[in-house]
Amino acid sequence: MPNSVLWAVDLFGRVYTLSTAGQYWELCKDSQLEFKRVSATTQCCWGIACDNQVYVYVCASDVPIRRREEAYENQRWNPVGGFCEKLLLSDRWAWSDVTGLQHRPLDGVALPSPHWEWESDWYVDENFGGEPTEKGGWTYAIDFPATYTRDKKWNSCVRRRKWIRYRRYKSRDIWAKIPSKDDPKELPDPFNDLSVGGWEITEEPVGRLSVWAVSLQGKVWYREDVSHSNPEGSSWSLLDTPGEVVQISCGPHDLLWATLWEGQALVREGINRSNPKGSSWSVVEPPGSENGVMHVSVGVSVVWAVTKDQKVWFRRGVNSHNPCGTSWIEMVGEMLMVNVGMNDQVWGIGCEDRAVYFRQGVTPSELSGKTWKAIVAARECDRSHSGSSSSLLSAGCFFGDEVRGSGESAPSDTDASSEVERPGPGQPLPAEPLDDSKNPTGSSASGPGAGRTAEETTEDACPAEGSRAAGPDTHPGPAPTPAELPWTNIDLKEPKKVPSHSAAGFPETSSLSSLGLLPLGLEEPYGVDDHPLWAWVSGGGCMVEACAMPRWFTVQAGLSPSVQTLSLSITPAQTAAWRKQIFQQLTERTKRELENFRHYEQAVEQSVWVKTGALQWWCDWKPHKWVDVRVALEQFTGHDGARDSILFIYYVVHEEKKYTHIFLNEVVALVPVLNETKHSFALYTPERTRQRWPVRLAATTEQDMNDWLALLSLSCCESRKVQGRPSPQAIWSITCKGDIFVSEPSPDLEAHEHPLPCDQMFWRQMGGHLRMVEANSQGVVWGIGYDHTAWVYTGGYGGGCFQGLASSTSNIYTQSDVKCVHIYENQRWNPVTGYTSRGLPTDRYMWSDASGLQECTKAGTKPPSLQWAWVSDWFVDFSVPGGTDQEGWQYASDFPASYHGSKTMKDFVRRRCWARKCKLVTSGPWLEVPPIAVRDVSIIPESPGAKRSGHSIALWAISDKGDVLCRLGVSALNPAGSSWLHVGTDQPFASISIGACYQVWAVARDGSAFYRGSVYPSQPAGDCWYHIPSPPRQRLKQVSVGQTSVYALDENGNLWYRQGITPSYPQGSSWEHVSNNVCRVSVGPLDQVWVIANKVQGSHSLSRGTVCHRTGVQPHEPKGHGWDYGIGGGWDHISVRANATRAPRSSSQEQEPSVLPEAHGPVCC
């Protein structure tokens, strides 16, 4: 799960963030300003500072925010001077925008605000519709405005060309003031409240946000045009309101609520993707007449409110169709404010202690949650800066039942060492504050902690003074109960009995904070300071999930944070000398005690071990159906100590008992099968692979299936003596279910003569869930999830259903993935009622899958398998190919046909796509590479025989937005690398591949290819792109580069080989067709070609998604001549780019004189 942050403002206006992976509040990087309000999203945070101005804080990222400015240069031909700038009077401007209506001289295009800078100067766009133009990018036409072509004809009277310049947003990781002077109407009064949301309304344009603000006079303003590429928006526009608004809250989707001065709530209706501002207001009465609503906060389908008496309310029945909801429910707890974040999770600021609370137990089925739980994370500065206040741990931090005041888990019984001396209640607090010099972390502290000024220190003292004064007399000695940690020996129930006070502020706080009568600083490396007093919290950018709670709720004992942060590559513990010594000594011991005595008899004879159970089997005969079977796995040990196993399947046919059996040493793959009702898996042997007919077995429970899978898999691995982490040369592949498989390449896999048939390759599963995986032979492996999260392989093995022996102890982490399930709503037009869901009898189902063959209703459609759970409701997907109208409909003359986005006279049917997100949580040897989501990645394959240089390993990727990225600092020891380097492009890209000699090829979203020039280890990002036309009438979608070979794949499944690549002309000359029905290609460092192909015929069935190996690939015949078919039936992805294992040289190869010149790489490797 990506790390995300919670934003909060303390009483002094300082802005802090708390990471879901961290345990300390960190002061905002730009701490010059003091803030009143903040409203956060994952990418940015908007705030109102104490100067009442609006600021936006755009989080830094390796990918720049760049925006393209365009201008057109227009020319007309005249007989005297040829083409020149002199136009006719009726013509457009010589310099204009694309329409020609607006005058746009190059020097007149200004930066919109001081937060932008130019990336480079203006240049001419030489690329026209995916094809390079000649002669300076000019395109020709008969007259303006008309269709422009690349070629100059006899009747071309006008021409134009496009100039491009990029500007870049520079104010990242700082608070950038939103310019107000540009606004036509100077704002009448300062802002009072602000809320950011709406990111789920539409992704057009990317990163679009709704920013709403309320002025002191009670007016509501909307910021126009805020998006990823325009983080500041363009202008404020005023909306009419029925009354004076004091506060506003905008949810991630279409909910928008505001509060009125009189205490009612306002609800905005009619917000949708075409009208994010909504159309009208409705009024919702407060829960009680005497206490109006003071504060509201909304999520996707929840509304929380705080009334003037600080009571918290939950609005029942809120959703898109009924944004007003039905009724109020009072919740336990008193809050100053509440804030709904992502996933409808809720935060609040306690009214008595001003602590930040998290609502526990909020799930899609129980949106109101269970209890409030205080976040006890300390501020980072508190760690090093023990401050002037004598540290009191506020008891108010802990209230509610969920703070277990019990000693179950506490080391309280016999352990005297954890007992801490507890002074009596009346005893004065330790007079001396902690001496900084005693503090081991003090000296190492830097950044916010160390940089704090004296002024801030005095501020810190205020609350503490109050607490000292009010302390002891408010509360008699609380009964000490053993708490989770020695220094929190406080009666945790106590604060509940404290009568609540009406107003907030220091007095109440102090009445509670004196409860902590603690001996401090005696054993702890740093004292637990007075907890921060908060004024505002915003969870709009914070993703908390029930399965992985952040560690915010317990005070961390002396472990230093560096120990806890996961560091990939090798953890210190693994390199520790003690571990090495144990490994080494055990090896020596075995040698000493066993080597000379191997002829001795073993004391214990190995015996047969059997596991039996009941499963279901998809029977081999017709009609095929699931039949109940008994299965038994017999394991026995041969004389050579090797383990072997047989799986027996006992079944009954025609009342006759029979059995079939499988030798596990013949099994080549055990594959969990996508099935929404059964926990099933398929078992392949080479023969079954050729038949395209595996043995299919199903278990009654997931646990049962996992047990069998793990056991069978372990037995298979043992019989093949495969264990531990995959070798660096391993071949990785992924099924359509997202399961990851790995195979150890045998040396003769790439032999020129008699290569190992690829149906004999043994595949074993790794834990985790990915959409694609790429590797190189130095052990660097990256994966990409369905949700575009980038993952790096940690060197472990197992995870997922492989527990215990089949899994490594370390390097296994939780992994989650999210994908969408799509169904279609189909309608037919009739003259009476227009479009209805009543179709012709011959029509498809009115709710169906994409093909129309399967009925798929909203209620009946289940997540893809039992491992997935829904995490959203159904929503209309507008991003389908072909475009949609405003309601998401696509029109066509009849089913099935090609659909378009607007209705014409000839259309009689329409459909729209509904999507629903589902999520899977598993575990595996993968760690996330935050924060940029990627859609493709390629790691440089190692040139066979090349010496390993000290250079870092080249790794290129395409972000989900289409940016080209180059990863810096990747090495075998640090496979995750350090940072992204952004490589500028003129259009979004889709696929990338880097060859062994630093040849970088890419495919743009328009289907054309590009070659990146001058990429060297010393210049990892290269210098410029060379446009390569795609094969005629085809749009490319993927490219793969081996040592010298370049293969590309188009959208129609054709595989192309790039002909004519030479060292002096690395772009090559033309595309040559190799094969069709291919859906993925991987070219390795030996220029070996592997693909995933569809429609592979087996003797029993046809299979899609089959691993195929190109045969006959030789240096002088890089295209090969045929295919060898391997494992199949649902494979989606393969990477052979780590396999640089050359076959042992046979005699025939030695005769090969020398390789033909064109077989050499563009750069001699």
Binding site: S409, P411, T414, D415, S417, S418, P486, E523, E524, P525, T554, A557, G558, L559, I570, Q574, A576, A577, W578, R579, Q581, I582, F583, Q585, L586, T587, E588, R589, T590, R592, E593, L594, N596, F597, Y600, E601, Q602, A603, V604, Q606, S607, W609, L714, G724, R725, G795, Q803, G804, L805, S808, T809, S810
Partner: protein
């Protein structure tokens, strides 16, 4: 990269080459040949010596046979100690194979427990397991297991089936994620130099300040005499499974990886051999 799992395998498959010789005073019908065997370090003598018994009984008369017992250089070998422990404690400095003398007479009642059948070994083994889990998890894990799981643990040991044993035993090696280790570490420290059979105390894997306790911390606490003075020469060896882990090794890790199947860390403190 070596994985910690390999340690478990190495520990389990540790073997001691042993030469069994019949005690000279035993009465035989013909000369008794010595018997050579690879003994699993993690098992128990009486569990793995059926072949030895059979071998020597062949040359003896029925009436001369009573309960078998073993002795090494005059010390009767306690069957209820794991074999590896017996070897480390008594014989680690001598040459291999390990020469064990077999007796069928004059059972040393004051030194040894009787071992009437395999059930006695099973009972002893399971009680050790239960004691260890009482220390680690307040017995919660072992009590939650089914009878067949207990049986599988025992059968795994008896039949020398590593994966069968560890399929269950791994549950005994888990601990709550929010803690850094077991409640207490089950360990026993053995010394040849003292009368006391072994030292066993309550000791936590993690210190109050959150630091992981090491093997050195344990020894300093419960057996200070075993720790070599910092400046002085090495007097003692601290041995588990025939190796000397560094004193910096975290105790929790040791407990998870170098415990015997009974879930105890059996640590031998033996005088540094002088050669």
């Amino acid at each position: 990269m070596t994985d910690d799992k390999d340690v478990l395998r190495d520990v389990w498959f540790g073997r001691i080459p042993t030469c069994f010789t019949l005690y000279q005073d035993e009465i035989t019908e013909r000369e008794a040949e010595p018997y050579y065997l690879l003994l699993p370090r993690v098992s128990y003598l009486t569990l793995v010596t059926d072949k030895v018994k059979k071998h020597f009984q062949k040359v003896m008369r029925q009436e001369d046979i009573s309960e078998i017992w073993f002795e090494y250089e005059g010390t009767p070998l306690k069957w209820h100690y794991p074999i590896g422990l017996l070897f480390d404690l008594l014989a680690s400095s001598s040459a291999l194979p390990w020469n064990i003398t077999v007796h069928f007479k004059s059972f040393p009642e004051k030194d040894l427990l009787h071992c009437p059948s395999k059930d006695a070994i099973e009972a002893h083994f399971m009680s050790c397991m239960k004691e260890a889990d009482a220390l680690k998890h307040k017995s919660q894990v072992i009590n939650e297991m089914q009878k067949k799981d207990h049986k599988q643990l025992w059968m795994g040991l008896q039949n020398d089936r590593f994966d069968q044993f560890w399929a269950i035993n791994r549950k005994l090696m888990e601990y709550p994620a929010e803690e850094n280790g077991f409640r207490y570490i089950p360990f026993r420290i053995y010394q040849t130099t003292t009368e006391r059979p072994f030292i066993q105390k309550l000791f936590r894997p993690v210190a109050a300040d959150g630091q992981l306790h090491t093997l050195g911390d344990l020894l300093k606490e419960v057996c200070p005499s075993a720790v070599n003075p910092e400046d002085g020469e090495k007097k003692n060896q601290v041995m588990i499974h025939g190796i000397e882990p560094m004193l910096e090794t975290p105790l929790q890790w040791l407990s998870e990886h170098l415990s015997y199947p009974d879930n105890f860390l059996h640590i031998s403190i033996i005088p540094q051999p002088t050669d």
